[in-house]
Subunit: 402 residues, 2 copies
Amino acid sequence: MTTTGPTTPRMGVSSGEILSLFRDVPDGLTKSDVARLTGLSRTTVNQRLDGLLAAGLLVPGPEEARTRGRPAGQFVVNRARGVLLVADIGATALRAAVCDLGGHVRNEREAKADVTAGPQSILTIVEKLFAEILHDIRRPPEAVLGIGLDVPGPVDFASGRVISPPIMTGWDRFDIRGWFAGQYTCPVLVDKDVNAMAYGEQRLRYPDVPHLLMVKVGTGVGTGLIAGGQVHRGADGAAGDVGHIHVTVPDVTEPPACRCGNTGCLEAYAGGWALVRDLREQGREVATVDDAVRLIRAGDPVAVRLARRAARILGGAIADMVNLFNPRVIAVCGQLAHTDELLFAGIREIVYRRSLPLATRNLQIVRSDLDPHAGVLGLAQLLVDGIYSPERVQELVDRATT
Amino acid sequence: MTTTGPTTPRMGVSSGEILSLFRDVPDGLTKSDVARLTGLSRTTVNQRLDGLLAAGLLVPGPEEARTRGRPAGQFVVNRARGVLLVADIGATALRAAVCDLGGHVRNEREAKADVTAGPQSILTIVEKLFAEILHDIRRPPEAVLGIGLDVPGPVDFASGRVISPPIMTGWDRFDIRGWFAGQYTCPVLVDKDVNAMAYGEQRLRYPDVPHLLMVKVGTGVGTGLIAGGQVHRGADGAAGDVGHIHVTVPDVTEPPACRCGNTGCLEAYAGGWALVRDLREQGREVATVDDAVRLIRAGDPVAVRLARRAARILGGAIADMVNLFNPRVIAVCGQLAHTDELLFAGIREIVYRRSLPLATRNLQIVRSDLDPHAGVLGLAQLLVDGIYSPERVQELVDRATT
């Protein structure tokens, strides 16, 4: 390399990394602090801080700080710089929320809506709820720095499109980002529901556990994997799609048909819809998964027997996941996680019998603590990561200074 | 935070990060280049480069570079600063090698050795081979900057100890690091064999593929996972231990006993040892997995039939892994990977039938390209990462300057 190389710094001296210094320090930092902490020249520090101030990402520290003996000239992160809009879109209901840049929910709304109604119908509802909650907290659309949606189907994370979803009729490759582009100028993130849930649970409840598996047992069965503190989406966004792994149950000669078209899938035995099917075959009057859960909680003997069987089949699949992935925590969410200890007893029985002792000696199998808010909170965390990423900070700085 | 904070830089200005700038630039960089690329003050640049020069990690660029019109005052990475010793310990043989700081093998040796002979016996052989290959290339033990070993069993990566290994008799919690501490002062890394293989394959053959699964089908069955370009070892170092996942085969009424004590494990159907067992039951004279592979390659009809069945059972387990982990590449290594296309045909048949289309549309299932050198090369890559990590570089700099 000669002396006429690139002029953009290649190393950790971006505006984003400077901003990250401030995020852990509520009382703020002075320019001298930054120069000392980074070894950067005074010129570079001034330039970076001017950009962050112009972008409104940093603000001068509050007056009262000085009266507590803090030196003048301090800067702090501007948590009111903007807000985040998130929507957790389930199979039959959705939840929209507005969060601050700390990832805390400021306001939220729920609505009943069947995801099979298609993207136009569902996104119209989401857009309406977003407008309402923004209005409630008196912030304009321009204040929105990020939008996040999660959906009950596989997502190509890079393009933000749902890909070949088994249950989301009409959503295949629909341009979700384009839908919001007219109203909002911020980035739009789309993820699979259980990925967002897994990330929320891990970041907010198990921040010291880098490897976590979230298992959602609702109408279907799905998992979200956190590996090394990051969502593992896999090569095509298909990671965690365990609802359709093939299961062999010894006493079953004819494997049940699955909604995906195959037979013998995990969710055709252990998903909520399969439980509803089996209860009806046994003459019980159930229409929904919630009905089934009520029957189990009421102690109906047939319902309890079927749920116990489903739990053991689920446990067999989870035991394989433990051997492959070796998480420290398995958090279970979804309607069937609310059948008291029944589901957990069945899962634990099989996992501790079949998985390697090394992989289970410190394993915790617990109910999700954030359910049913895990999706909304996980989306907010993903958006906050994005906002404070070096690339995004640079973009905001560039927009403010050029 | 007041002005009397920590003085150690918290950001990307460590000696290790400066060194990383030089690693991609064979012709070297001047002090001005570094100042310009990093935005660091001249004082800081001088201080960091002096440390790296004192530690021998950087050296002045070669004289001849100047005659090609390069400016004076250039520095380059010192690839001869030290060497790495690695040993790939298999069930019945081991391979020891010495590598340079680019991860290239400079010299290597093989030996037959049964891992069940125990750690003292095996590590004595490794130590002897290490001494021989060092002597061959005329470097003293002090030149060794890192030692890496991989073993056919689960490893607690943090402590470098083998934990509850199914086949490594006598190795449980043995202090492998302590064994080398008298002779060498460098860090000692211990990993599961298939983890090192997976990392070698990914770094050297699929550097643009962040999610890769290495499946080893030798005497037993095991996998190594690369997630986001990093080895996924899981919470206890047990990730990838799929040899003992429970498999149900429709036509089997009594599941075969496994060497782990359970019945119906994957490797009790599809591992090399199970194939040897089945061939013997069918009257074939085979003593080892290599014998079985020879019989399959020779087209023996019974051997071919049994191998095809094993491949399909393996394919069923791999299909589940694809649904959970969604890799872009599955590389297969181990003796049974050398049964021409037989194994691959069986695996592909089941994976493409059972896994989700989204997860298989871009999936490649291939023979490991580096096998049988993947372990040695993967260990060298892991050690190189360690040598050039900010922490280790700082340690070498501190040792040289204080």
